[in-house]
Protein backbone atom coordinates (compact mmCIF):
# COMPACT_ATOMS: atom_id res chain seq x y z
CA UNK A 1 0.00 0.00 0.00
CA UNK A 2 1.45 3.35 -0.99
CA UNK A 3 1.25 6.21 1.44
CA UNK A 4 1.91 9.22 -0.84
CA UNK A 5 -1.83 9.71 -1.27
CA UNK A 6 -3.51 12.78 0.25
CA UNK A 7 -5.26 11.98 3.50
CA UNK A 8 -9.05 11.84 3.76
CA UNK A 9 -9.00 14.97 5.91
CA UNK A 10 -7.09 16.87 3.18
CA UNK A 11 -9.55 15.74 0.53
CA UNK A 12 -12.46 16.83 2.71
CA UNK A 13 -10.84 20.24 3.33
CA UNK A 14 -10.46 20.80 -0.41
CA UNK A 15 -13.99 19.60 -0.99
CA UNK A 16 -15.53 21.90 1.62
CA UNK A 17 -13.54 24.84 0.22
CA UNK A 18 -14.84 24.07 -3.25
CA UNK A 19 -18.42 23.30 -2.37
CA UNK A 20 -19.42 25.49 0.59
CA UNK A 21 -22.29 24.42 2.76
CA UNK A 22 -21.48 20.71 3.05
CA UNK A 23 -22.31 19.20 6.42
CA UNK A 24 -19.86 16.65 7.74
CA UNK A 25 -20.39 14.34 10.68
CA UNK A 26 -18.86 11.18 12.07
CA UNK A 27 -20.15 8.12 13.86
CA UNK A 28 -18.04 5.17 15.05
CA UNK A 29 -15.12 6.55 13.08
CA UNK A 30 -17.07 6.73 9.82
CA UNK A 31 -17.04 10.14 8.14
CA UNK A 32 -20.22 11.23 6.42
CA UNK A 33 -20.97 14.25 4.30
CA UNK A 34 -24.39 15.51 3.32
CA UNK A 35 -24.57 16.97 -0.17
CA UNK A 36 -27.41 18.96 -1.66
CA UNK A 37 -29.04 17.23 -4.61
CA UNK A 38 -28.01 19.84 -7.26
CA UNK A 39 -24.30 19.39 -6.54
CA UNK A 40 -24.28 15.63 -5.89
CA UNK A 41 -22.78 14.62 -9.23
CA UNK A 42 -20.05 17.27 -9.05
CA UNK A 43 -19.11 16.32 -5.49
CA UNK A 44 -19.05 12.59 -6.26
CA UNK A 45 -17.00 13.15 -9.44
CA UNK A 46 -14.59 15.27 -7.44
CA UNK A 47 -14.24 12.54 -4.82
CA UNK A 48 -13.73 9.89 -7.49
CA UNK A 49 -10.92 11.94 -9.00
CA UNK A 50 -9.46 12.66 -5.55
CA UNK A 51 -8.80 9.01 -4.77
CA UNK A 52 -12.09 7.31 -3.93
CA UNK A 53 -11.90 5.03 -6.93
CA UNK A 54 -14.24 2.33 -5.65
CA UNK A 55 -17.98 2.84 -5.33
CA UNK A 56 -18.86 0.19 -2.78
CA UNK A 57 -22.60 0.70 -2.67
CA UNK A 58 -25.48 2.96 -3.59
CA UNK A 59 -28.53 2.51 -1.46
CA UNK A 60 -31.35 4.49 0.05
CA UNK A 61 -33.24 4.88 3.31
CA UNK A 62 -36.88 5.93 3.46
CA UNK A 63 -37.21 8.20 6.52
CA UNK A 64 -41.02 8.31 6.42
CA UNK A 65 -41.48 7.05 9.99
CA UNK A 66 -38.11 8.12 11.40
CA UNK A 67 -38.00 10.32 14.49
CA UNK A 68 -37.07 13.93 13.71
CA UNK A 69 -36.55 13.33 9.98
CA UNK A 70 -37.46 16.25 7.73
CA UNK A 71 -36.65 14.79 4.34
CA UNK A 72 -38.01 11.55 3.07
CA UNK A 73 -35.36 9.71 1.06
CA UNK A 74 -31.71 9.64 2.00
CA UNK A 75 -29.44 8.18 -0.65
CA UNK A 76 -26.25 6.59 0.59
CA UNK A 77 -23.09 6.44 -1.51
CA UNK A 78 -20.39 4.36 0.14
CA UNK A 79 -17.00 5.22 -1.28
CA UNK A 80 -13.69 3.49 -0.71
CA UNK A 81 -10.24 3.37 -2.18
CA UNK A 82 -8.35 0.42 -3.59
CA UNK A 83 -5.00 2.10 -2.91
CA UNK A 84 -5.21 3.23 0.69
CA UNK A 85 -7.68 1.89 3.22
CA UNK A 86 -10.18 4.70 3.66
CA UNK A 87 -13.90 5.16 3.37
CA UNK A 88 -16.39 7.97 3.04
CA UNK A 89 -20.17 8.02 3.13
CA UNK A 90 -21.96 10.61 1.01
CA UNK A 91 -25.62 11.31 1.74
CA UNK A 92 -28.00 13.00 -0.69
CA UNK A 93 -31.54 13.76 0.43
CA UNK A 94 -34.48 13.96 -1.97
CA UNK A 95 -38.23 14.29 -1.47
CA UNK A 96 -41.59 13.37 -2.91
CA UNK A 97 -43.42 13.82 -5.23
CA UNK A 98 -40.68 13.24 -7.77
CA UNK A 99 -37.52 12.10 -6.07
CA UNK A 100 -34.77 12.52 -8.65
CA UNK A 101 -31.02 12.58 -8.48
CA UNK A 102 -28.37 12.59 -11.14
CA UNK A 103 -26.85 9.24 -12.02
CA UNK A 104 -23.17 8.51 -11.35
CA UNK A 105 -22.88 5.70 -13.91
CA UNK A 106 -20.55 7.94 -15.91
CA UNK A 107 -18.18 8.10 -12.95
CA UNK A 108 -18.36 4.52 -11.69
CA UNK A 109 -19.78 1.76 -13.84
CA UNK A 110 -20.68 -0.16 -10.69
CA UNK A 111 -23.47 2.38 -10.11
CA UNK A 112 -25.40 0.88 -13.04
CA UNK A 113 -27.10 -2.01 -11.26
CA UNK A 114 -26.99 -0.40 -7.83
CA UNK A 115 -29.00 2.57 -9.10
CA UNK A 116 -31.39 0.23 -10.87
CA UNK A 117 -31.97 -1.51 -7.56
CA UNK A 118 -32.66 1.80 -5.79
CA UNK A 119 -35.09 2.74 -8.56
CA UNK A 120 -36.77 -0.65 -8.24
CA UNK A 121 -37.03 -0.62 -4.46
CA UNK A 122 -37.55 3.08 -3.69
CA UNK A 123 -38.65 4.73 -6.93
CA UNK A 124 -35.83 7.25 -6.98
CA UNK A 125 -35.35 8.41 -10.54
CA UNK A 126 -31.74 8.64 -11.71
CA UNK A 127 -31.33 11.25 -14.44
CA UNK A 128 -28.83 10.20 -17.06
CA UNK A 129 -28.90 6.50 -16.25
CA UNK A 130 -28.48 4.58 -19.53
CA UNK A 131 -30.88 1.75 -18.75
CA UNK A 132 -33.11 2.46 -15.75
CA UNK A 133 -35.18 -0.73 -15.59
CA UNK A 134 -36.30 -2.70 -12.56
CA UNK A 135 -33.58 -5.02 -11.32
CA UNK A 136 -35.42 -7.53 -9.15
CA UNK A 137 -39.17 -7.03 -9.31
CA UNK A 138 -41.06 -8.05 -12.47
CA UNK A 139 -41.54 -5.44 -15.19
CA UNK A 140 -45.30 -5.11 -14.64
CA UNK A 141 -44.84 -4.37 -10.95
CA UNK A 142 -45.96 -0.85 -10.13
CA UNK A 143 -44.95 -0.25 -6.51
CA UNK A 144 -41.59 0.25 -4.83
CA UNK A 145 -41.51 -2.32 -2.06
CA UNK A 146 -38.81 -0.99 0.27
CA UNK A 147 -40.69 2.25 0.84
CA UNK A 148 -42.04 2.45 4.36
CA UNK A 149 -45.64 2.85 3.22
CA UNK A 150 -45.46 -0.53 1.49
CA UNK A 151 -46.65 -3.29 3.83
CA UNK A 152 -44.62 -6.36 4.68
CA UNK A 153 -47.41 -8.74 3.74
CA UNK A 154 -50.32 -8.71 1.32
CA UNK A 155 -49.70 -6.36 -1.56
CA UNK A 156 -47.81 -7.54 -4.59
CA UNK A 157 -47.92 -11.17 -3.61
CA UNK A 158 -48.18 -14.02 -6.02
CA UNK A 159 -51.96 -14.17 -6.40
CA UNK A 160 -52.02 -10.58 -7.70
CA UNK A 161 -50.09 -11.48 -10.82
CA UNK A 162 -51.80 -12.62 -14.02
CA UNK A 163 -51.71 -16.36 -14.55
CA UNK A 164 -50.09 -17.34 -17.82
CA UNK A 165 -51.66 -20.47 -19.24
CA UNK A 166 -50.08 -22.73 -21.82
CA UNK A 167 -52.54 -21.46 -24.45
CA UNK A 168 -51.66 -17.77 -24.22
CA UNK A 169 -48.05 -18.32 -23.13
Amino acid sequence: MTTDQPSTADILDTLVARFPGLETSAYRGQTRIVVGEPASLEVLSFLAAAGFDLLVDVTCVDYLEYRGATRRYGLVYLLASTVTPRRLTVRVFVDDPEPTVRSVVGVWRSADWLEREVWDMFGIHFIGHPDLRRLMMPEQFTAHPLRKDYPLQGRGERHNFPVLTREDG
Binding site: L54, L78, P85, W113, M136, L152
Partner: protein, 409 residues
Amino acid sequence: MSIAPDHDTRVRPAATREEDYLWTLNFGPQHPATHTTLRLVLKLEGERVVDAMPEMGYLHSGFEKIGEHLTFNQYVTVTDRMNYISPMANNVAWHHAVETLLGIDLTPRCKVIRTIIAELARISDHLLCNGAVGLDTGAFTFFLYGFYQREVIYDIFETLCGARFTNSYTRVGGVSQDFTPLVIEKIRTFLRTFPKTLDDMERLLTRNRIFVDRTKGVGVLTKEEAINGGATGPVARASGVTRDLRKDEPYLAYADYDFQICCAAAGDCYARYLVRMQEMRESLKILNQAIENLPAGEVNVGVDQRVARPTKQQVYSTIEGTISHFELSMSNRSFEVPYEESYAAIEAPNGELGFYIVGDGDDTAYRARCRPPSVLHFSLFPQLIRGHTLSDVVAVLGSLNIIAAELDR
Protein backbone atom coordinates in the same frame (compact mmCIF):
# COMPACT_ATOMS: atom_id res chain seq x y z
CA MET B 1 -17.08 -10.92 -37.45
CA SER B 2 -18.03 -7.69 -35.85
CA ILE B 3 -18.67 -7.53 -32.14
CA ALA B 4 -19.67 -3.88 -32.04
CA PRO B 5 -23.30 -3.84 -33.12
CA ASP B 6 -23.84 -0.20 -34.14
CA HIS B 7 -21.58 0.69 -36.98
CA ASP B 8 -23.35 -1.29 -39.68
CA THR B 9 -26.95 -0.77 -38.65
CA ARG B 10 -27.08 2.84 -39.78
CA VAL B 11 -25.92 2.25 -43.34
CA ARG B 12 -27.71 -0.99 -44.22
CA PRO B 13 -31.44 -1.42 -44.60
CA ALA B 14 -33.13 -2.93 -41.60
CA ALA B 15 -33.90 -6.31 -43.21
CA THR B 16 -30.26 -7.20 -43.83
CA ARG B 17 -28.84 -5.93 -40.59
CA GLU B 18 -26.19 -8.10 -39.11
CA GLU B 19 -28.21 -8.50 -35.94
CA ASP B 20 -30.94 -10.34 -37.80
CA TYR B 21 -28.61 -13.25 -38.30
CA LEU B 22 -27.94 -13.49 -34.60
CA TRP B 23 -29.54 -16.25 -32.65
CA THR B 24 -31.01 -15.47 -29.25
CA LEU B 25 -30.59 -18.08 -26.58
CA ASN B 26 -32.25 -18.08 -23.20
CA PHE B 27 -29.83 -19.52 -20.69
CA GLY B 28 -31.69 -20.20 -17.47
CA PRO B 29 -33.44 -19.34 -15.19
CA GLN B 30 -33.56 -23.11 -14.68
CA HIS B 31 -30.40 -24.65 -16.01
CA PRO B 32 -27.98 -27.05 -14.33
CA ALA B 33 -24.97 -24.96 -15.30
CA THR B 34 -26.21 -21.70 -13.85
CA HIS B 35 -26.19 -23.60 -10.53
CA THR B 36 -28.73 -21.14 -9.21
CA THR B 37 -31.79 -19.36 -10.52
CA LEU B 38 -30.59 -16.63 -12.84
CA ARG B 39 -31.14 -15.90 -16.49
CA LEU B 40 -28.86 -14.90 -19.34
CA VAL B 41 -30.14 -13.79 -22.71
CA LEU B 42 -27.32 -14.54 -25.10
CA LYS B 43 -26.98 -13.19 -28.62
CA LEU B 44 -25.06 -15.75 -30.59
CA GLU B 45 -23.38 -15.72 -33.95
CA GLY B 46 -22.81 -19.38 -34.52
CA GLU B 47 -21.17 -20.43 -31.29
CA ARG B 48 -19.73 -17.04 -30.49
CA VAL B 49 -21.41 -14.82 -27.91
CA VAL B 50 -21.91 -11.36 -29.38
CA ASP B 51 -23.75 -9.95 -26.41
CA ALA B 52 -25.23 -11.12 -23.15
CA MET B 53 -27.97 -9.63 -21.05
CA PRO B 54 -27.97 -10.93 -17.49
CA GLU B 55 -31.23 -10.82 -15.63
CA MET B 56 -31.90 -11.47 -11.99
CA GLY B 57 -34.73 -11.35 -9.50
CA TYR B 58 -36.11 -14.87 -9.83
CA LEU B 59 -35.19 -15.60 -6.23
CA HIS B 60 -36.05 -12.22 -4.76
CA SER B 61 -37.55 -12.79 -1.32
CA GLY B 62 -37.45 -9.33 0.19
CA PHE B 63 -34.70 -10.05 2.72
CA GLU B 64 -34.08 -6.34 3.27
CA LYS B 65 -37.77 -5.75 3.97
CA ILE B 66 -37.79 -8.67 6.40
CA GLY B 67 -34.73 -7.12 8.06
CA GLU B 68 -36.91 -4.18 9.08
CA HIS B 69 -39.25 -6.50 10.97
CA LEU B 70 -36.96 -9.01 12.68
CA THR B 71 -34.74 -8.27 15.66
CA PHE B 72 -30.98 -8.22 15.34
CA ASN B 73 -30.74 -11.76 16.69
CA GLN B 74 -33.62 -13.14 14.64
CA TYR B 75 -32.35 -11.75 11.36
CA VAL B 76 -29.22 -13.88 11.48
CA THR B 77 -31.37 -16.80 10.31
CA VAL B 78 -32.16 -14.84 7.14
CA THR B 79 -28.51 -14.01 6.49
CA ASP B 80 -27.85 -17.77 6.36
CA ARG B 81 -29.99 -17.92 3.27
CA MET B 82 -28.16 -15.14 1.40
CA ASN B 83 -24.92 -16.77 0.36
CA TYR B 84 -25.84 -20.30 1.34
CA ILE B 85 -22.44 -21.57 0.21
CA SER B 86 -20.79 -19.92 3.21
CA PRO B 87 -23.55 -19.02 5.72
CA MET B 88 -21.10 -18.64 8.60
CA ALA B 89 -19.42 -15.71 6.84
CA ASN B 90 -22.81 -14.00 6.45
CA ASN B 91 -23.58 -14.52 10.14
CA VAL B 92 -20.25 -12.94 11.06
CA ALA B 93 -20.85 -10.03 8.65
CA TRP B 94 -24.33 -9.30 9.98
CA HIS B 95 -23.42 -9.25 13.63
CA HIS B 96 -20.19 -7.39 12.89
CA ALA B 97 -22.36 -4.64 11.41
CA VAL B 98 -24.84 -4.73 14.31
CA GLU B 99 -22.04 -4.53 16.86
CA THR B 100 -20.48 -1.63 14.98
CA LEU B 101 -23.79 0.24 15.23
CA LEU B 102 -24.25 -0.57 18.90
CA GLY B 103 -20.58 -0.05 19.77
CA ILE B 104 -20.05 -3.49 21.33
CA ASP B 105 -16.51 -4.71 21.84
CA LEU B 106 -16.25 -8.49 21.68
CA THR B 107 -14.25 -10.68 24.02
CA PRO B 108 -10.88 -11.92 22.70
CA ARG B 109 -12.13 -15.50 22.63
CA CYS B 110 -15.18 -14.56 20.59
CA LYS B 111 -13.07 -12.63 18.09
CA VAL B 112 -10.86 -15.64 17.49
CA ILE B 113 -13.80 -18.05 17.30
CA ARG B 114 -15.50 -15.85 14.71
CA THR B 115 -12.24 -15.60 12.76
CA ILE B 116 -11.97 -19.40 12.74
CA ILE B 117 -15.51 -19.98 11.50
CA ALA B 118 -15.19 -17.24 8.89
CA GLU B 119 -12.03 -18.85 7.53
CA LEU B 120 -13.61 -22.31 7.53
CA ALA B 121 -16.48 -20.76 5.59
CA ARG B 122 -14.00 -19.27 3.14
CA ILE B 123 -12.39 -22.65 2.53
CA SER B 124 -15.74 -24.36 2.00
CA ASP B 125 -16.89 -21.58 -0.33
CA HIS B 126 -13.73 -21.69 -2.43
CA LEU B 127 -13.89 -25.50 -2.56
CA LEU B 128 -17.37 -25.39 -4.02
CA CYS B 129 -16.66 -22.47 -6.35
CA ASN B 130 -13.51 -23.98 -7.80
CA GLY B 131 -15.13 -27.40 -7.76
CA ALA B 132 -18.02 -26.05 -9.81
CA VAL B 133 -15.66 -24.43 -12.31
CA GLY B 134 -13.98 -27.81 -12.63
CA LEU B 135 -17.31 -29.57 -12.94
CA ASP B 136 -18.54 -27.23 -15.66
CA THR B 137 -15.34 -27.63 -17.65
CA GLY B 138 -15.42 -31.40 -17.39
CA ALA B 139 -13.42 -32.25 -14.26
CA PHE B 140 -15.87 -34.21 -12.15
CA THR B 141 -13.28 -35.89 -9.90
CA PHE B 142 -11.95 -32.54 -8.81
CA PHE B 143 -15.43 -31.49 -7.73
CA LEU B 144 -15.86 -34.65 -5.64
CA TYR B 145 -12.50 -34.10 -3.91
CA GLY B 146 -13.65 -30.61 -3.01
CA PHE B 147 -17.10 -31.64 -1.91
CA TYR B 148 -15.76 -34.37 0.34
CA GLN B 149 -13.80 -31.76 2.28
CA ARG B 150 -16.86 -29.50 2.40
CA GLU B 151 -18.63 -32.35 4.14
CA VAL B 152 -15.88 -32.40 6.75
CA ILE B 153 -16.45 -28.68 7.35
CA TYR B 154 -20.21 -29.30 7.57
CA ASP B 155 -19.45 -31.91 10.24
CA ILE B 156 -17.40 -29.37 12.19
CA PHE B 157 -20.26 -26.88 12.05
CA GLU B 158 -22.76 -29.56 13.05
CA THR B 159 -20.68 -30.44 16.10
CA LEU B 160 -20.37 -26.75 16.86
CA CYS B 161 -23.96 -25.57 16.61
CA GLY B 162 -26.19 -28.47 15.55
CA ALA B 163 -26.84 -27.20 12.04
CA ARG B 164 -24.84 -28.26 9.03
CA PHE B 165 -26.06 -25.78 6.47
CA THR B 166 -28.00 -22.86 7.91
CA ASN B 167 -25.93 -22.30 10.99
CA SER B 168 -27.25 -19.03 12.50
CA TYR B 169 -24.27 -19.28 14.80
CA THR B 170 -23.52 -15.73 15.89
CA ARG B 171 -25.45 -13.58 18.36
CA VAL B 172 -25.19 -9.92 19.26
CA GLY B 173 -22.15 -9.73 21.52
CA GLY B 174 -21.14 -13.34 21.08
CA VAL B 175 -21.99 -16.69 19.60
CA SER B 176 -24.67 -19.27 20.34
CA GLN B 177 -22.30 -21.99 21.56
CA ASP B 178 -18.73 -21.94 22.77
CA PHE B 179 -16.10 -24.21 21.21
CA THR B 180 -16.02 -27.60 22.88
CA PRO B 181 -12.88 -29.80 22.99
CA LEU B 182 -14.52 -32.03 20.37
CA VAL B 183 -14.91 -29.10 17.95
CA ILE B 184 -11.30 -28.10 18.43
CA GLU B 185 -10.23 -31.70 17.87
CA LYS B 186 -12.25 -31.89 14.65
CA ILE B 187 -10.80 -28.63 13.37
CA ARG B 188 -7.28 -29.85 14.18
CA THR B 189 -7.92 -33.10 12.30
CA PHE B 190 -9.22 -31.11 9.34
CA LEU B 191 -6.14 -28.88 9.38
CA ARG B 192 -3.94 -31.98 9.39
CA THR B 193 -5.70 -33.82 6.59
CA PHE B 194 -6.88 -31.03 4.30
CA PRO B 195 -3.48 -29.87 2.92
CA LYS B 196 -2.97 -33.29 1.34
CA THR B 197 -6.31 -33.07 -0.46
CA LEU B 198 -5.49 -29.54 -1.53
CA ASP B 199 -2.19 -30.81 -3.01
CA ASP B 200 -4.10 -33.56 -4.79
CA MET B 201 -6.61 -31.07 -6.13
CA GLU B 202 -3.89 -28.81 -7.45
CA ARG B 203 -2.19 -31.77 -9.10
CA LEU B 204 -5.49 -32.75 -10.70
CA LEU B 205 -6.36 -29.44 -12.27
CA THR B 206 -3.79 -26.65 -12.08
CA ARG B 207 -1.68 -28.04 -14.92
CA ASN B 208 -4.43 -30.02 -16.59
CA ARG B 209 -4.23 -29.20 -20.29
CA ILE B 210 -7.99 -29.29 -20.88
CA PHE B 211 -8.78 -27.12 -17.89
CA VAL B 212 -6.05 -24.57 -18.66
CA ASP B 213 -7.20 -24.33 -22.29
CA ARG B 214 -10.77 -23.81 -21.18
CA THR B 215 -9.99 -21.09 -18.64
CA LYS B 216 -6.81 -19.26 -19.60
CA GLY B 217 -7.49 -16.03 -21.46
CA VAL B 218 -11.25 -16.51 -21.02
CA GLY B 219 -13.31 -13.79 -19.37
CA VAL B 220 -10.49 -11.31 -18.89
CA LEU B 221 -11.24 -8.50 -16.45
CA THR B 222 -8.67 -5.72 -16.44
CA LYS B 223 -7.68 -3.93 -13.25
CA GLU B 224 -9.38 -0.69 -14.33
CA GLU B 225 -12.60 -2.49 -15.22
CA ALA B 226 -12.52 -4.35 -11.93
CA ILE B 227 -12.19 -1.16 -9.87
CA ASN B 228 -14.66 0.82 -11.96
CA GLY B 229 -17.13 -2.03 -11.92
CA GLY B 230 -16.97 -2.39 -8.16
CA ALA B 231 -15.47 -5.89 -8.09
CA THR B 232 -14.14 -7.04 -4.73
CA GLY B 233 -12.73 -10.21 -3.25
CA PRO B 234 -11.03 -12.92 -5.33
CA VAL B 235 -12.50 -11.53 -8.58
CA ALA B 236 -10.80 -8.17 -8.04
CA ARG B 237 -7.62 -9.71 -6.65
CA ALA B 238 -7.27 -11.95 -9.70
CA SER B 239 -7.19 -8.72 -11.74
CA GLY B 240 -4.42 -7.18 -9.67
CA VAL B 241 -6.38 -5.13 -7.14
CA THR B 242 -4.54 -5.56 -3.86
CA ARG B 243 -7.51 -4.87 -1.64
CA ASP B 244 -8.38 -7.27 1.14
CA LEU B 245 -10.36 -6.00 4.11
CA ARG B 246 -8.63 -8.51 6.39
CA LYS B 247 -5.41 -6.54 5.87
CA ASP B 248 -6.70 -3.07 4.99
CA GLU B 249 -9.25 -2.66 7.77
CA PRO B 250 -8.38 -5.50 10.15
CA TYR B 251 -11.51 -6.60 11.99
CA LEU B 252 -11.94 -9.46 14.50
CA ALA B 253 -8.52 -11.00 15.21
CA TYR B 254 -6.98 -10.75 11.73
CA ALA B 255 -4.38 -8.18 12.79
CA ASP B 256 -2.72 -10.82 14.99
CA TYR B 257 -2.08 -13.38 12.28
CA ASP B 258 0.57 -13.79 9.69
CA PHE B 259 -0.92 -14.36 6.24
CA GLN B 260 -0.70 -12.94 2.76
CA ILE B 261 -3.10 -11.47 0.27
CA CYS B 262 -3.29 -13.59 -2.87
CA CYS B 263 -3.30 -11.69 -6.12
CA ALA B 264 -2.88 -12.40 -9.79
CA ALA B 265 -2.44 -10.09 -12.75
CA ALA B 266 -4.10 -11.93 -15.64
CA GLY B 267 -7.72 -11.37 -14.61
CA ASP B 268 -9.02 -14.42 -16.48
CA CYS B 269 -10.92 -17.44 -15.21
CA TYR B 270 -7.69 -19.31 -14.61
CA ALA B 271 -6.32 -16.47 -12.46
CA ARG B 272 -9.50 -16.45 -10.39
CA TYR B 273 -9.13 -20.21 -9.91
CA LEU B 274 -5.51 -19.79 -8.83
CA VAL B 275 -6.31 -16.97 -6.40
CA ARG B 276 -9.00 -19.08 -4.74
CA MET B 277 -6.70 -22.11 -4.48
CA GLN B 278 -3.98 -20.00 -2.91
CA GLU B 279 -6.42 -18.26 -0.56
CA MET B 280 -7.36 -21.64 0.89
CA ARG B 281 -3.71 -22.16 1.81
CA GLU B 282 -3.58 -18.73 3.46
CA SER B 283 -6.81 -19.52 5.32
CA LEU B 284 -5.15 -22.70 6.60
CA LYS B 285 -2.29 -20.56 7.91
CA ILE B 286 -4.74 -18.31 9.76
CA LEU B 287 -6.64 -21.30 11.12
CA ASN B 288 -3.49 -22.96 12.40
CA GLN B 289 -2.42 -19.82 14.21
CA ALA B 290 -5.91 -19.16 15.57
CA ILE B 291 -6.75 -22.63 16.84
CA GLU B 292 -3.41 -22.99 18.64
CA ASN B 293 -3.75 -19.56 20.28
CA LEU B 294 -7.40 -19.67 21.25
CA PRO B 295 -7.75 -17.33 24.25
CA ALA B 296 -9.41 -18.66 27.38
CA GLY B 297 -12.23 -16.86 29.13
CA GLU B 298 -15.80 -15.96 28.42
CA VAL B 299 -17.01 -16.11 24.86
CA ASN B 300 -19.92 -13.68 25.17
CA VAL B 301 -19.68 -10.12 26.43
CA GLY B 302 -20.42 -9.63 30.12
CA VAL B 303 -23.78 -9.39 31.82
CA ASP B 304 -23.12 -5.70 32.57
CA GLN B 305 -23.42 -4.82 28.88
CA ARG B 306 -26.90 -6.37 28.61
CA VAL B 307 -26.59 -7.56 25.03
CA ALA B 308 -25.70 -11.25 25.13
CA ARG B 309 -27.85 -13.74 26.96
CA PRO B 310 -26.23 -14.80 30.24
CA THR B 311 -25.44 -18.44 30.90
CA LYS B 312 -27.92 -20.56 32.86
CA GLN B 313 -25.43 -20.57 35.74
CA GLN B 314 -25.58 -16.77 35.86
CA VAL B 315 -29.36 -16.67 35.46
CA TYR B 316 -30.01 -19.02 38.35
CA SER B 317 -27.34 -17.83 40.76
CA THR B 318 -26.95 -14.06 40.29
CA ILE B 319 -29.49 -11.26 40.34
CA GLU B 320 -27.75 -9.45 37.46
CA GLY B 321 -28.00 -12.58 35.36
CA THR B 322 -31.70 -12.99 36.16
CA ILE B 323 -32.52 -9.36 35.34
CA SER B 324 -30.45 -9.38 32.18
CA HIS B 325 -32.04 -12.60 30.95
CA PHE B 326 -35.54 -11.25 31.70
CA GLU B 327 -34.93 -7.91 30.01
CA LEU B 328 -33.39 -9.43 26.89
CA SER B 329 -36.49 -11.58 26.50
CA MET B 330 -38.84 -8.60 26.70
CA SER B 331 -39.58 -7.00 23.37
CA ASN B 332 -39.78 -3.50 24.85
CA ARG B 333 -36.58 -3.58 26.93
CA SER B 334 -33.97 -5.13 24.72
CA PHE B 335 -30.87 -3.41 23.37
CA GLU B 336 -30.20 0.28 23.57
CA VAL B 337 -29.96 1.23 19.92
CA PRO B 338 -28.88 4.74 18.93
CA TYR B 339 -30.71 6.86 16.34
CA GLU B 340 -27.73 6.49 14.08
CA GLU B 341 -26.56 4.60 11.05
CA SER B 342 -23.36 2.84 10.19
CA TYR B 343 -21.82 0.52 7.63
CA ALA B 344 -19.52 -2.36 8.40
CA ALA B 345 -18.16 -4.96 6.04
CA ILE B 346 -16.09 -8.10 6.18
CA GLU B 347 -14.02 -9.84 3.55
CA ALA B 348 -16.45 -12.64 2.76
CA PRO B 349 -15.29 -15.48 0.48
CA ASN B 350 -16.98 -13.75 -2.44
CA GLY B 351 -15.82 -10.21 -1.76
CA GLU B 352 -16.86 -7.30 0.39
CA LEU B 353 -20.02 -8.28 2.26
CA GLY B 354 -21.33 -5.36 4.27
CA PHE B 355 -24.48 -4.21 5.98
CA TYR B 356 -25.69 -0.63 6.22
CA ILE B 357 -27.89 -0.54 9.30
CA VAL B 358 -30.07 2.34 10.45
CA GLY B 359 -31.01 2.19 14.12
CA ASP B 360 -34.14 3.80 15.52
CA GLY B 361 -34.01 3.01 19.23
CA ASP B 362 -35.67 -0.34 18.65
CA ASP B 363 -34.04 -3.75 18.54
CA THR B 364 -35.09 -4.18 14.93
CA ALA B 365 -33.21 -2.28 12.26
CA TYR B 366 -35.01 0.64 10.61
CA ARG B 367 -33.19 -0.32 7.43
CA ALA B 368 -30.91 -3.30 6.92
CA ARG B 369 -29.17 -2.93 3.60
CA CYS B 370 -26.98 -5.81 2.49
CA ARG B 371 -24.17 -5.00 0.12
CA PRO B 372 -23.80 -8.25 -1.80
CA PRO B 373 -20.60 -8.76 -3.79
CA SER B 374 -22.33 -11.01 -6.34
CA VAL B 375 -24.53 -8.27 -7.80
CA LEU B 376 -21.58 -6.23 -8.99
CA HIS B 377 -19.78 -9.30 -10.28
CA PHE B 378 -22.84 -10.41 -12.22
CA SER B 379 -23.18 -6.97 -13.80
CA LEU B 380 -19.65 -7.40 -15.16
CA PHE B 381 -20.63 -10.61 -16.92
CA PRO B 382 -21.52 -9.20 -20.39
CA GLN B 383 -18.15 -7.55 -20.88
CA LEU B 384 -16.35 -10.72 -19.77
CA ILE B 385 -18.16 -13.05 -22.18
CA ARG B 386 -18.31 -10.91 -25.33
CA GLY B 387 -16.39 -12.58 -28.12
CA HIS B 388 -16.06 -15.93 -26.37
CA THR B 389 -17.96 -19.12 -27.19
CA LEU B 390 -21.13 -20.48 -25.66
CA SER B 391 -19.20 -23.15 -23.79
CA ASP B 392 -17.17 -20.42 -22.05
CA VAL B 393 -20.33 -19.03 -20.45
CA VAL B 394 -20.28 -21.62 -17.71
CA ALA B 395 -16.57 -21.16 -17.07
CA VAL B 396 -16.96 -17.39 -16.63
CA LEU B 397 -20.15 -17.72 -14.61
CA GLY B 398 -18.58 -20.30 -12.34
CA SER B 399 -15.40 -18.33 -11.80
CA LEU B 400 -17.39 -15.26 -10.72
CA ASN B 401 -19.14 -17.45 -8.11
CA ILE B 402 -22.60 -15.98 -8.64
CA ILE B 403 -24.97 -17.09 -5.91
CA ALA B 404 -28.51 -16.15 -6.87
CA ALA B 405 -29.80 -16.10 -3.30
CA GLU B 406 -27.22 -13.46 -2.46
CA LEU B 407 -27.85 -11.70 -5.76
CA ASP B 408 -31.58 -11.34 -5.27
CA ARG B 409 -31.96 -11.40 -1.51
